[in-house]
Amino acid sequence: MSEAYVVGAGQSDFGSFPDESYRSLFTTAYGNALDSVPSGLSTEEIDEAYIGTLGVGGRQLGLSGPAVTEHVGLDGVPCTRVENACAAGGYAVRQAVMAVRSGMADVVLAGGFEVMTDVSGESVRYWLGVSGETEWERLSGTTFAGVYAQMARAHMEAYDTTAEQLSRVAVKNHDNGAKNPHAHLQFACSLEDARTAPTVADPLTLYHCCPTTDGAACALVVSEDVVDEYTDDPIRIAGVGAASDAVGLFQRETYTGIPASRRAATRAYETAGIGPDDVDFAEVHDCFAIAELLACEDLGFCERGESGPFVESGATALDGELPINTSGGLKSKGHPIGATGTGQVVEAFEQLSDRAGDRQVHEPRYGLTHNVGGSGGAAVVHVFEREDRGDTTEVER
């Protein structure tokens, strides 16, 4: 079985772009991904493509993968659209790894896109809602924010987590996003801003919720046979874990964590041969502030119930012991649904290749990405390793 490496990753700006189409955004991301490959990579070298998108607005529900790959000249390359709600991009990356590891492909494009800001608020609420459980959860009148608010309420009841601790996630991620030229919301937010913002779904305020965003992001995954053609500093996809679960929150064993995240993380750590303590930075799925707190626990960065104090301690800040969401996360960088998972890989790639500018973490070896679909119906975790920053895995190989 071949190892898989990420040799390039790039994204469009995330934001609201009335003058852009999903195809033009994808073209930008694709071009930036190609340009990021140290030794260069051209369109003809790509064997396979996986594209994540939910299809917000219903613009191209059928064949939405080929609709963007043919646009960038990948005619003839097999392309599969991957749909796992907000985890579509992360699962596209996972498919790329599987294609490489199976030996069927040497160079695989994992991409994602979404355009969300050119439709009415009502329409967006519809599209966000279709990733929850439709027949019961949705028809109880709840929204996506409402389901995460139920998780927040349960966490607050169980562990005395506070609204201020939720707000601290927003403040931190805005601080990071303000340093990211690709981020949607490049401004700082104060605790007071978060506290006094309008309530979206009690206890979540507007600043506890990510924006709806337009954007695209791509990653290039290659096999060990060809990785040397593209880079001298290989970044290995060392760990891959994924799990699915009941789509509706009410059907799950707990409301104060995401079981699919726990299972995906366990598997990713096992396959990478590391534990949570080895992770140098992480991009986690913070569609709502509570989601980042849950992720800290589910990924093993802190004990269950301890994520509030953990975030409050500054441990997850850019200069903390485990920087989380250095990109700004979904909260500040933005959440163009299908592009979010591949967008996380862009940050991991930039951090591990020391290209993260003002957000750069000092010489990281392991980076982790965590992408959740819906409120936990699917989750995928990847561990990336900069191979030249350690020797243990060399021995294992």
Partner: protein, 468 residues
Amino acid sequence: MTDTTRIRSVGAYTPALRIEAEAFADAWGQFEPPGIESKAVPDADEDALTMAAEAGRRALDAAEIDGNAIDWLGFATTTPPLAEAELTPRLASMLGVSERSRLRSFTASTRAGTQALLAAPAVETALVVAADCPRGAPDETREHAAGAGGAAFVLGPDGSAPITEHAEHAEPYPGTRFRPTGSERIEGIDVGTYERHAFTETISTAAASVETDGATAAAVQAPDGKRPYRAASALGVPSDAIRACATVHELGDTGAASVPLSLARALAGDHETVLAASFGSGAGADVLRIEVEDAVVSDCAFDGQRTLTYPAYLRRRGEITSPGVDTGAAYVSVPSWHRSLPQRHRLVAGQCPDCGALTFPPEGACSGCGALVSYEQIELWTTGTVETVTSIDRGGAPPEFAGQQARSGAFGVAIVRLERDGNTISLPGQLTDEAAVGETVVPVIRHVYTQEGVPRYGVKFVPRSAHR
């Protein structure tokens, strides 16, 4: 006396919302309908069918029987949520009345409630439900009077209150109160003397064939708070007998449920002889005499809970709000919805024959052992506990709930845990009032949403602290 219909139990339901006559007077300079001090207002997710389900459950509970004991179900309303469509089968499903029962619908007249009572068979167990929520144009006296509520009666050979006599009379009186085809609003041409004449003539002619002596309570049709007293001499009762069980003064004009609600109040009280006199414009009247041999068991919610301002009333009525935007919404096809009716209407869960765990809805792999099994059907219509909750504020509702939210404001959505013999299920449910984690809630039937023109009903939860 097997040919005498006997009332065994009564149930009554009125919405929790009230508006005072003064609120109308403040807005309009005066409140026209005489004798109404306040009236009941349905919430945005209440209608004749949901009120019928509430009243029907209460009558069944009072009689301590299940819906499957019912052989005949009659549903009376002048305000069916659909002008054409059998709604009584849905009511039967909500109440657990079995499919072998005979179902009848009565409509198009405020006399429909008593018509249903008189149509019920004497030798079987019957359930008669009348619920109504008439409406008029906002600037009309009929709208100002229009209230809401429902009453239900379990009838059977062992009932303690036989309908000993009854008579009816009908003759044409065109132009009295009517509702044109396609309209939701009752109208009238307001020829006062003519209307009053129609009312008293039909009732007195019917009453002439019924022994009316000795009645201490008389349930009389009440389009306003003055009209029923015009029937006092025709019925040979003092005004106090009408006042003894009148509901119009606090509930307003409850249409086809007017006489049933007053009758429910009379039977829930300690009256021995009760008269009932209904009137339907056009015109016809029923007069009934009921002798109470033994106390009739009852479960009635006549009291209101919250008082609305006039603007809040207009919002509840949908007079100043837009309907929800149809974006296609979270599409649940009608056939899909139909398959889930036992769950929507009666909280039927599945019990695993292997491990005993409960699964809701009862399909797919068992929540306990993961096996694909054929579930035993278990009805879990019982109080539950709030496990977690949020509030969906204005602007944040899914499109299919936007119209309801515009009318009723923010609403809570909880995950509720139901328990049976140590096994539990959890399901998401909308709350009709605020409830915190750990609070006990009671299931009720409400309008969930309308898609493709089809109103869909299902379970919501009322905090027990707000349940009447």
